[in-house]
Symmetry: C2
Subunit: 213 residues, 2 copies
DNA sequence: GTCTATAGCAGGATAGAC
DNA sequence: GTCTATCCTGCTATAGAC
């Protein structure tokens, strides 16, 4: 395990950037290898095909990164005795909007999953199994005891989805938000979004927003 | 204006279906013309290039359809004296989730705009100018007088965006919702989503959800 | 493990027959 | 206005040198 997978990693890095920005079909192997400063043969040597390179981006980069965010979330919640819904939602919103990732990393991360949600490939099943479904189950378990108003699990599922809807929307539609509102997406604005999502979500859940603030 | 633009219309129709399903780059002219039962030359004759065909799909189909939804929305609201936020939101949710469009049409419609939001091309500016910005302005004007809690316009803008976030999410992520919850996306489920969005959004706006129900 | 060279194919766009 | 035939470019993937 010397550093001879240096090229391999550079390819993965550049491939992720390009796939996120332009989508699978709009990216050519030549483009990736030019960015990674190596030759097209290297992709086929390390990953066999373009499709498998795409899958590997999710397997070895996207999923671990998403799991890192879950860890961040769980650590935040571990510090609190028995976290209220307000605390849970705030932790999720922060992990998703500010979180342990850089702004550019987060943006790429979202673009990739939006593409998969809008237009699923094999990558989606892998991602859903290893990240999305477990996270949903986790949040459902966290929130369920506090929300006796949700008699059936489906109501709670839909509410959790609504929260993700808002969260995803505010990251993936960043260019649109700037264009429609003319507002710059600076840290101040981002903090404001977190508050917005927390307040909106909590009240959507029918919980008093001030409780955990 | 005989019916000699029959081929032209078939191309537009099939192009929209394919662009929505697979995205611009994944669709070839050959694929479109095969579906439209004509030859590749016809595309270049009628639209000059693939890119211009894509733009024309938005210009002559997507934007008019979106405007039709706004008309539907405005007609609904015209029947009510001075509609409350609850009525406004419910009308928006219905227009967006049930609306005047068929389920397949609505799905395609969403997929196209999600792609543009995630990855804007020239089509986005056109769409934003002619549909998104006017709709935002309209809703802002409708809701503003009823929400004295929103002292600045930006809070209201963000709240309206949150509502769109949930709405868009529930249409574009339909495959994901089915996959994650195992629930079929039938009319019953769709009606449930409308209620969910209305309740969640209204409470997110800080308005009593029962008022307009 | 990384490179060059190339096979083999598919795509966009055009020219010209009908 | 629609078709066929064709050009040319750019792509993936492979074979083989280093």
């Amino acid at each position: 395990m010397k550093d001879n997978n240096d090229t391999k990693n550079r390819i993965l890095e550049e491939a992720e950037i390009l796939f996120a920005e332009k989508g699978f079909n709009a990216v050519s192997i030549r483009e990736v290898t030019a960015a990674a400063r190596c030759n097209t043969g290297a992709v086929n040597y390390h990953f066999q095909s373009k499709k498998k390179l795409y899958m590997e981006v999710f397997r070895s980069r996207w999923i671990p990164r998403e799991l890192k965010m879950y860890e961040h979330l769980k650590e935040t919640l571990a510090k609190v005795e028995s976290p209220s819904p307000a605390t849970v939602i705030k932790a999720v919103a922060e992990a998703y909007l500010e979180g342990p990732l850089s702004e550019e990393e987060l943006r790429r991360h979202r673009q990739l999953i939006i593409r998969e949600i809008n237009n699923p490939t094999e990558a989606f099943e892998m991602v859903a199994d290893q990240t999305l479904r477990p996270l949903f189950a986790y949040l459902q378990g966290r929130l369920h005891p506090y929300l006796p108003g949700h008699l059936d699990d489906e109501s709670l599922t839909l509410d959790i989805m609504s929260i993700f809807g808002v969260l995803l929307y505010f990251t993936y539609s960043r260019p649109m938000i700037s264009r429609v509102t003319g507002r710059k997406y600076d840290p101040e604005f981002k903090a404001r979004l977190v508050n917005q999502v927390v307040r909106f979500s909590l009240e959507g859940l029918g919980v008093d927003g001030k409780e955990g603030k």
